[in-house]
């Protein structure tokens, strides 16, 4: 009886998830269909043609080609998202550790202040950041975007990692220090390994944010030196036309790496977000 209930629950949940995913699955399916079938009236429900033409167009092995340097975009996106994630994690770990392990004056205000700076809408920042970056000569560079994304991700990373370090009993680190470790060694040997999943989940969130960000990237990037995949999506829109099938193909290229990464760190992700995942 309990097993039947479990099965029903599982199927129901699975179906719910599928329904939830339908709008996204439609995009992915559209990547393999010609425009004529996706946006048709009367609708074509069962795909008549499944084709790789939309990918062929982008990568340049199809009959019809549109010169979209998707290779550069992919590389830019990877470099920018990974670098900014790693830096944000480094800064976030330092900050989170400071908040979790030290008592100092104005601690709450600093914490709240960091969070509030994150709330400034991108649209409000776009012009001033652009002006500043152009003075510094880092418009249209990966570096320029990396710095911005680090700042987008630092507050949340600090938050998560702070919560995580708090859950690790102080006694562990103190014990290590009694055994002759420096505080630094104690951190690397005891606290860091325990906080790993917290760091991993912060990393996934940071990566997804950078990987998918559009508003600021569209302002600060210009050429193939720095344009990222979401910005590249707009290459499919000309003044009068949108190649929706082509866009969907590009969407698949954007989604798949993110999906793989998420699946791989899934275990750590939940544990990391659970804050109290480590028994104390």
């Amino acid at each position: 009886m309990k097993r039947v209930r479990g099965m029903v629950l599982w199927v129901a949940t699975f179906l719910l998830m599928v329904v939830m995913c339908v709008p996204g699955l439609w995009v992915i399916l559209s990547a393999f269909r010609p425009n004529r079938e996706i946006l048709a009236k009367p609708p074509v429900w069962v795909p008549e043609t499944l084709t790789l033409d939309n990918f062929g167009k982008i990568f340049g092995w199809g009959a019809e080609q549109i010169a979209i340097p998707v290779g550069s975009y992919f590389l830019n996106s990877m470099v920018i998202a990974l670098t900014s994630t790693v830096i944000a994690l480094g800064i976030g770990m330092a900050g989170g550790y400071a908040f979790a392990r030290f008592r100092f004056r104005g601690k709450n205000s600093v914490f709240l202040g960091l969070m509030l700076l994150r709330t400034v809408p991108g649209i409000a920042l776009s012009l001033p950041v652009f002006m500043l970056w152009s003075r510094l000569g880092i418009i249209d560079t990966k570096l320029g975007l990396i710095i911005v994304y680090v700042s987008l991700n630092v507050p949340f990373t600090i938050w998560l990692i702070d919560g995580f370090f708090r859950q690790i009993p102080l006694s562990l680190s103190e014990a290590a220090q009694v055994d002759g470790c420096t505080r630094w060694q104690a951190f690397w040997k005891i606290e860091f390994p325990l906080a790993k999943s917290g760091i991993a989940s912060a990393g996934v969130f940071a990566f997804l944010t950078s990987w998918n960000e559009f508003a600021l990237a569209s302002q600060l990037t210009r050429s193939t030196d720095s344009k990222t995949l979401p910005v590249g999506l707009l290459d499919f829109t000309a003044q009068f036309t949108i190649d929706w099938a082509g866009m969907c193909a590009m969407a698949v290229i954007i989604i798949v790496p993110a999906l793989i990464l998420t699946f791989l760190v899934q275990k750590h992700l939940i544990a990391g977000l659970t804050f109290g995942g480590v028994k104390g």
């Binding site: 010609p34 152009s134 302002q219 050429s223 707009l234 290459d235 000309a238 003044q239 929706w244």
Partner: protein, 440 residues
């Protein structure tokens, strides 16, 4: 010495001139120079850029493409550049509707491009490219809208009979906007089929409204730049859109439509008539993309109540910045991009050329290839480009005025306001903009 120089100048001019005709031009020599450019991106514009290595080989210069974006993104980027003082590039894609906003950042090409070269372009389009007497851009290709329709609908005997019985005249592709309205209402069978459609937001609807105001004999502004689009002609123009919308002769979603929606909508086979840009022609007749391929008819845009045809037009173009460090190289590049050979390349993809000779030769080429549809497209669009085309008022405030106007046009369409009230409200706001900008 002076004599020699004059001789040289004449010589160069002469070479350019003869070369222009022979289509094997001398683009000059700029070895080691890197020309920094910003180009409009997008599938239909890219084939031209594949030709750039030819210019590099001919001149010894390099072209560095700093950015490649659609026009709205590029517009934003150029405004940022003006703001940040980073106009450190030479050549940029431009558009006749956008150009007036940029003030004097672009050089007057009358001083940089030989007169003979400019004379090879369609005169009306050169006129559209001129702001305050300065030729700030060299047109690359033009666009204007004509009326596409599904041929089979007009050949159906039962439909012909029913139409005549109801409206008292023969069913034929419409010559006036009043007929468009009749036929749109006649063909419409929502939600499966619609008689007509139009773009319903942004500058797109402003433009459509504007051309109908002109076709009805009205004006957007009087001589002192006071808004006059709330005149009876303007109200009639807006009422046309409102009536079609209320009668459900157009899709219910049109207030949110832009160009891609109308184009894809017509290609989906669910719309009888579509006033649309020349650039769509090839797409509409391509069986891979369109369900109406082989069934596409085309006539010149219909006339308004004043007997004028609608002809809102714009041309894509290239400009040279005033701050450019090597204007001769930039000018050479512009001549190359808009030259005969390259316009032939773009025309073969269906873009409307700006050089008179390319109109001739591209049409002849389509004829030779047996592509009667494109021959028809080119002759129709050539006529409207030469006779009907007009631009929006070439003032920097156009987009700003448009942005107060189009939400009001929508308000009338969806029934929040009457046409008169909507236009009066927009005119008041537009008057403030014009006043603040120092016109009156």
């Amino acid at each position: 010495m002076k004599g020699l120089r004059t001789l040289l100048v004449i010589g160069t001019a002469l070479t350019t001139w003869t070369a222009g005709i022979a289509a094997a031009q001398d683009y000059g020599s700029f070895p080691g120079y890197t020309l920094r450019v910003k180009l409009i991106g997008g599938a239909q514009y890219e084939p031209l850029y594949a030709e750039i290595p030819k210019w590099e080989a001919a001149t010894g210069a390099k072209v560095e493409i700093l950015s490649r974006k659609n026009h709205f993104e590029l517009d934003r980027e150029i405004k940022q550049d003006i703001a940040a003082g980073t106009l450190d590039w030479c050549v940029g894609s431009n558009h006749t509707s956008f150009a007036p906003q940029y003030g004097d950042i672009y050089a007057d090409l009358n001083t940089l491009i030989p007169k003979e070269v400019i004379a090879e372009f369609v005169p009306l389009v050169i006129g559209h490219s001129t702001v305050n007497g300065r030729l700030v851009q060299l047109p690359r290709h033009s666009d204007v809208s004509n009326l596409f329709y599904q041929k089979s609908l007009y050949e159906d005997a039962a439909k012909k009979e029913a139409f005549k019985a109801k409206y008292g005249y023969d069913l034929a592709p419409p010559d006036t906007w009043a007929q468009v309205k009749d036929q749109a209402e006649f063909f419409a069978a929502p939600p499966d089929f619609y008689g007509f459609q139009f773009v319903g937001k942004d500058e797109a609807i402003t433009g459509r409204f504007y051309e109908l105001v002109v076709a009805n004999g009205g004006k957007m502004f009087d001589d002192k730049w006071n808004p006059t689009f709330n005149s009876p002609e303007g109200v009639a123009a807006l009422q046309f859109f409102v009536d079609l919308y209320k009668a459900k002769a157009v899709p219910a979603g049109v207030p949110n439509y832009t160009w891609d929606d109308t184009g894809l909508g017509f290609a989906s086979g669910s719309v009888a008539m579509d006033l649309d840009w020349g650039g769509w022609s090839a797409f509409f007749n391509d069986p891979k993309n369109s369900k109406v391929a082989g069934n596409v008819g085309l006539i010149r845009a219909p006339k308004g109540t004043a007997g004028i045809r609608t002809g809102w037009s714009g041309s894509h173009s290239f400009s040279i910045t005033e701050s450019c460090d090597n204007k001769p190289a930039a000018a050479s590049f512009l001549e190359f991009l808009t030259g005969y050979d390259n316009q032939m390349v773009e025309a073969s993809k269906g873009l409307l050329p700006t050089r008179s000779k390319v109109w001739d030769d591209a049409t002849a080429k389509f004829k030779a290839d047996g592509n009667t549809f494109m021959v028809d497209v080119f002759s129709t669009f050539r006529q409207s480009m030469a006779e009907d085309a007009f631009t929006p008022p070439l003032i920097p405030e156009w987009i700003e005025v448009s942005n107060v106007l189009w939400p009001k046009l929508q308000a009338a369409m969806v029934g929040d306001m009457t046409a008169q009230a909507a236009l009066d409200a927009a005119a008041t706001e537009a008057a403030t903009i014009m006043h603040d900008a120092g016109y009156n």
